[in-house]
Symmetry: C2
């Protein structure tokens, strides 16, 4: 990876500027990792580095389980009509059982490099694979977490390590099998371990240590306040899987008499630092609770389609005030353009109508909203004072080619959201560092890195 | 385009062989446009041309409206919540109004080249833009059809020109505005024109002239038998839009007291040469009628998602005996891997379960079934006597990379169907001609061809 350059002058053919418009001939000057000047029009400054197509701010992948990438293209063979989220989970656990810190570093580095190639500059890693087999702590109990931070650094990404409290295998059920690697015993021991994890990253602009409640299935209700309090004290992001499956709702209602969202609300877990991941099967009251508390909802549409979760109430959440973010989650696909358009398109499938979201709303979910909910509040916008994350998306591929793009029209943004794929990302600058150039990552052949990393798990 | 080579020896790292398995080290020998030898294992013959990744038979795009490509990324801006299939159609008509034979040749050539890059070797063009403005015939009344055939030839594709009878703007309503370009007055004049279209292509292995009933909206019931009889006499494919929208069902029930499928059945339009396009909103009886008559159902999932049509009953149709085929239709996306996996994945969204289709079923829809329903019954299979259409899909991109592919496992096919995109197609051989090499089409920069072709319509 190249070092941070002191100063750069970048010239964008087209750029997506706040609060949501396509501008032409945009000059962006950076000072190290930060944007210090944005101007429009006029001739290109001498020596400016040209970026073609539409330049977006860096994308934020708000929900990742890096190791799930090893399952891609390996979970569909059953074909028996009996497959479900739960049979998929068995295969996922098998991969989890094969990881150690070295292997996880190798795998996550390749996965994060794949993300970089897709224009992602911040990742939220929902991390629960903490311990060695049978739940024995590593010599450094945070060895797995450090591996993930190192992987992100190597790939040029910013990481919000959402260290996940995972204590039970279901409501009232002990951890079983590979799940024992996830558990800390209780929330207090979880908090002590996470507190130790924070220290080494104090002052690191590229690392946030956040918290997660895996789900109402995995954290007993009396343990939740400890996690919530830790996140509040640290002013850290707090994420939780919420109502991805109806079975989770049924179990929660049966055990506690309330929905997962209501349970989290009653323990103080909702709020403007909180992200409810999936938020697929919600009641009208759930939607109100999320909206009025300014909790965000992280949709992972390609995973939710793959796992047959269903289509979440994106329109109602938006209308209630919940800001939407996006995640590639299981990494069946790593392409935030796919995730963004699927919020709109999957809503069309279940409503029979078009035109639910503005392109600017979908791009906010893919950029500023996501970075914000990962604890990177100064990223995801091309404006002075923000992190110098720029993503150039070509408009001349067979997918994106069309009429010439006029300034003053948002057609280029519509094309990117509805027609581009990750393969159309040509250049990625992450905090001033050029990590992808001409579609090639600084680490080299990422396909080969992925192959080697996954091969070692067989 | 290169001429047909007399004889070629191709060596496939992996190949998808009938009836549906991945084989390693496959040697395929062609004689002009035909496969004359398929063998497995052993050393590569001296001088063999190596194809990497998984080699599939050529893909069939069973439902295309070539000119819709000009709308890509231009129909989502309304964002008012009021959008529908019908407002989209207004924009589509605007593009239709700007075409003439020269412009259509230029546009369709570029669109078909984009298809070639995605591994498509046969296209079914559902063609209704027949006449000059106001419905005046061109000097050659088939000038538009000839332009489409020429475009396919230039791009290296085989075309089934499904010449479409389009007589009314709705049941009992005259053609209006640009629709007047679609109409022949009555089915007899449609048949005379299509009969004249056939002559020049007699003996051309790359061209089929087929028939289409646009829909029950556009062909009065008393006119249908003439079209059905023409197709029967010619032993030609017969396609029809069926129940894409509930409004069509409502109008049909109101006018005729039966569903569109039943109406078509009663006029003799169903059968093993017939394709019901979309087949989205069907009754149980409709599904039985399609299945028992061996009518195929052409699903166009990316278009049906874009246009908010809904998710069709793919499982029930398959179970009833209707063979599934795939189309990119409006070309919001041209990627048959996307279409194939969406048949499974969209079914997951509306059922909450995984595992409805075998990978082999989805690949059959994308290959042999599609070619067959376009009238190319000897294509879409890598076996002796079939057309020499081969498509190499790389397994080492960031999307497809994973563990080494073992022979005897269908994991490589699963990877291609569920993880590859059109961007992973490296080589396409169409009837022996190498039309795509290393991801590049013989016509050159297809993005530029598309841009120029669409620009001329502004």
């Amino acid at each position: 990876m190249r070092p941070y350059p002191a100063r750069q002058v970048l010239r964008c053919e087209l750029a997506w500027l706040p609060p949501g418009r396509v501008a032409a001939d945009v000059t962006i000057v950076t000072d190290g990792a930060t944007i210090v000047e944005v101007s429009e029009g006029g001739p290109a400054p001498a020596g400016a580095q040209q970026l073609h197509g539409l330049v977006l701010p860096g994308l934020a992948n708000t929900h990742s389980h890096a190791f799930h990438r090893a399952l891609r293209g390996r979970t569909h063979a059953a074909g028996s009509g009996q497959g479900s989220f739960w049979t998929w989970r068995d295969q996922m656990y098998d991969v989890a059982s094969r990881l150690d810190p070295d292997r996880y570093l190798t795998l996550a580095r390749a996965v994060y490099a794949e993300m970089a190639l897709a224009g992602i500059t911040s990742v939220g890693e929902f991390h629960y694979l903490h311990h060695a087999p049978a739940g024995r702590p590593y010599d450094d109990p945070n060895a797995m977490g450090h591996a993930l931070v190192d992987a992100a650094h190597d790939a040029g990404l910013h990481i919000s390590l959402l260290d996940t409290c995972y204590l039970t295998g279901g409501i009232g059920q002990p951890l079983d099998g590979v799940q024992r690697r996830f558990g800390d015993g209780d929330a207090q021991r979880w908090a002590s371990r996470v507190e130790a994890l924070r220290g080494p990253y104090d002052g690191r602009a590229d690392v946030v240590i956040g918290a997660a409640l895996h789900s109402v299935r995995a954290v007993p209700v009396e343990q939740m306040p400890t996690v919530v309090a830790w996140a509040a004290n640290a002013a850290a992001p707090l994420h939780a899987h919420v109502s991805e499956q109806t079975a989770e709702n049924d179990a929660c209602l049966s055990a506690y008499g309330v929905t997962p969202t209501r349970l989290l609300r009653d323990r103080g877990a909702l709020g403007p630092r909180t992200t409810a991941v999936h938020a697929t099967h919600l009641t009208a009251q759930d939607i109100s609770l999320l909206g009025e508390s300014w909790t965000s909802a992280c949709f992972c549409p390609t995973t939710e389609r793959d796992l047959a979760d269903g289509v979440g109430p994106a329109v109602a959440l938006r209308d209630a005030g919940a800001r939407l973010t996006l995640g590639s989650d299981s990494h069946a696909v790593i392409d935030l353009f796919e995730e963004a358009r699927a919020v709109e398109l999957d809503t069309r499938l279940v409503t029979g109508r078009r035109g639910h979201f503005q392109v600017a709303e979908l791009l906010d979910a893919a950029t500023a909203a996501g970075h914000d909910r990962l604890g990177f509040s100064n990223a995801g916008r091309l404006e002075i004072g923000c992190r110098a994350d720029l993503v150039a998306v070509r408009l001349d591929s067979v997918r994106t080619s069309g009429p010439a793009q006029a300034a003053g029209s948002n057609a280029a943004a519509e094309t990117v959201v509805f027609a581009a794929t990750a393969a159309d990302v040509t250049d990625v600058i992450s905090a001033g560092r050029h990590i992808v150039e001409g579609g090639r990552h600084a680490l080299g052949d990422v396909g080969l890195l992925l192959r080697n990393a996954i091969q070692q798990l067989r």
